[in-house]
Symmetry: C2
Subunit: 452 residues, 2 copies
């Protein structure tokens, strides 16, 4: 209940804060920000246009900087961090988890991140440097290095007393790890086991196999897939010598899952998934121009096809009027298949063993929808233009193009993936180029053969 | 390390299993399935074409049915469950978590789910019926009802002994809840606190405020957003009287986050996000036809615009050849904006307070890219067709259309959301219709005015 109210409040403040900033009531804003959770300030910053974002950041308590930066998306974080002095940044990183500090430092120029590291205390610095030594998109880049370890030959009671003396445990800890004398992981003791076991039992008797250990070099997508499939809350991370090097908790994985899914959606529209909603105009325009440039080639390919049939077009304008329908339907149908295949590839449901089956199925769907829409569009054209031949031609082109769309919709993303090109990014445009070219060629070609 | 091997194995078996089924080696497959984790069998079923899927299901140990069903996506689950007898289903639900049983039962016809409920033991049945009484897409539909509760006036030591006597706790429990004599939630005791507190301390002294309590009627998307922003692992669920009714754990929320993000991606291509990769052909074709039907209207709208300019088209075929370029670029640019806005709306970053700002920014991006591509395309057309006037006309149309695309890309999704229409589903097509109609009208209109 309390939470509900808080949540609504956080939504309200965007409007309030904007108005207050516009009216120069900075003290009021600063007071409001002090009452807010860092997560909500992060949300507010994401939703703020750039000029109020910078003002908001100035008015925020620097003690909250670390936690806020941790919640921000890449582009927004970069835009704020790039204006901060190294020692302010070093202060902000205090109290942040190792993996999150590394995440912030990675986006800085090397010289700045080195300065920030120099300002940190030695223990923190070593931890962060360890995290930085692994690739960002690997288990090593996701993990925290603050783990609690015990030996297998102690009693549960000893563990309990040890934890009470420690007084606190790292955030989101739900298990402690059992290691041998050489730091090799040999088991784990979930808190649930620890709490339901009699104090005089030895750890070795109740510990679980550490068969969920993740190798430090595993890619972040594979880590996310493991967490999702096994419903884990946390997992230990080991190096190639079986030595425990850290732990990954599900809150870090949730970010990977979210980014992964967003990546597909944004890429399919030709957008960078890091793009800040309120990015500077010139930066946005430049980033998006790459994709528009690719589309110019696609559009020119289609225009070149029509150009081949210029004589037909000049003879009968109705053909020019109708010629956009077939490519349009092919593009839409093909992109339905592309979306299905991209999701299947991302989830690992599509591979060599079943791609033939999928191709046959999508070709059949294309054929069936091709027949349906060939009849409907053919009928409409006959009624509209009163020309049976033209109706027949558009029907034949429609049928062909929807069949091609089904086949290309399966083969293009799979081929792109084999060529190590992101199918979510390039799949839709490659497909549309194919359906445009085939659709126009068949329609205009048949018209040239049969009508001229 | 062990995990890594297991993961690869699960990937291998799709090929192996398919071959073994094709060769009728059923005993071999059954033995292989026995060695696999239920999650991996679920993954295999998702990736299997329909005929091998049914065989695989027959060969799976019925004891694993519950856990497997729990991991499957909606359409795949439905296709398997619809062929099972009610008492087999009731058996399968044993050992599943309440929310997961409810999830399976919801997809069944009422008569069948009633039969399944009758086969369950009374306690389980009451729990599932409670879960079924809440909407599927609410906190009530996500929660588990098996929670551990204690009173505030007992010592930590008493809690520890109580847990040891219980001997086990529900899956993914990381906290116990403190309630008063009328079951109202007054606080919570995370396991981490329980483990780091001296045994003689009273619960009331160390318990945390239950300010993360979620109202049972909260929508699942809002629950997901709270978990993501606050980095929670679990949260208590209360009813309007503050009484504790259950708890939500992050593994259920991860599914919501994944489905949510997939929904946007699939909807934008006009696909149902539940669609099984290997759905029956007729079912797929019928589902996708709705979207193709909508596109027929969009394509006919564009053709009607060209039809207005039939006289111009018959006079100069080069115009027909070039007329597809402007709508194509407008559609791509507009859909970039639509993707950005859909993501922003989904994350709650876009609202009344900042939509004007966003509109101005996207219009500016459209204008800037409009100028760039007007110059480039205009240049290409002058070189290609040797006609300065035609180059000027296409430049003017391109500039107008990219500006319109930026404005429509912001306003259409926001308007659709206000009208309670899913912007991810309808946004792209509505945008394309606008950019097609405006692009063609301006290009053909100018050509008619200036060239004829």
């Amino acid at each position: 209940m309390a939470e509900q109210k808080e949540f609504d409040q956080a939504h309200l403040t965007l409007q309030e804060v904007t108005e207050a900033i516009d009216n120069g009531r900075f003290v009021h804003v600063r007071r409001q920000l002090q009452d807010m959770e860092p997560e909500d300030i992060a949300h507010l910053l994401e939703a703020s246009p750039r000029r109020s974002r910078d003002v908001l950041w100035q008015l925020t308590d620097p003690e909250d900087y670390g936690e806020i930066l941790d919640e921000l998306s890449e582009d927004v974080k970069d835009s704020l961090v790039s204006k901060m002095a190294p020692q302010d940044l070093a202060e902000a990183t205090e109290g942040m988890e190792t993996d999150d500090v590394a995440y912030v430092l990675r986006s800085l120029p090397d010289s700045v991140s080195k300065q920030v590291l120099e300002q940190m205390d030695l223990e923190d610095r070593l931890r962060v440097e360890t995290a930085l030594s692994y690739p960002e998109d690997s288990a090593g880049g996701l993990m925290n290095t603050d783990v609690i370890t015990i030996r297998a030959d102690v009693d549960v009671d000893v563990v309990l007393r040890y934890l009470r003396i420690k007084g606190e445990v790292p955030t989101n800890t739900d298990a402690i790890y059992v290691v041998d004398s050489e730091s090799r992981l040999i088991g784990e003791l979930p808190f649930t086991t620890l709490l339901t076991t009699q104090p005089d039992v030895q750890v070795s008797e109740v510990m679980e196999d550490a068969d969920d250990a993740i190798l430090v070099t595993t890619s972040d997508n594979e880590v996310a897939s493991l967490f999702e499939r096994r419903n884990w809350l946390s997992a230990p991370v080991i190096d190639e010598n079986q030595q425990l090097v850290g732990r990954i908790t599900i809150d870090d994985v949730v970010d990977v899952i979210r980014e992964d899914a967003e990546h597909s959606m944004m890429s399919m529209a030709g957008m960078d998934d890091d793009e800040d909603t309120f990015a500077p105009v010139v930066k946005s325009a430049r980033k998006r121009s790459i994709w528009l440039g690719a589309n110019v080639l696609a559009a020119l390919a289609a225009a070149s096809v029509s150009n081949l049939f210029e004589a037909t077009l000049s003879q009968m304008a109705a053909i020019a009027v109708l010629m956009t329908i077939v490519p349009s339907m092919g593009g839409v149908a093909g992109n339905q298949t592309v979306a299905l295949v991209i999701r299947g590839l991302a989830l690992g449901h599509i591979g060599d063993a079943n791609k033939r089956e999928l191709l046959l199925k999508e070709a059949a769907v294309g054929l069936l929808n091709g027949i349906t829409w060939a009849l409907i569009i053919g009928g409409i054209v006959v009624l509209w233009k009163g020309n049976w031949l033209l109706g027949g031609i558009i029907s034949a082109a429609m049928l062909t193009n929807l069949l091609v769309a089904g086949i290309a919709g399966v083969t293009i993303p799979i081929m792109l993936k084999k060529m190590k090109i992101d199918p979510a990014l390039a799949g839709g445009m490659a497909l549309t180029t194919v359906t445009d070219v085939i659709g126009l060629s068949v329609f205009l070609g048949l018209a040239t053969l049969l009508i001229r």
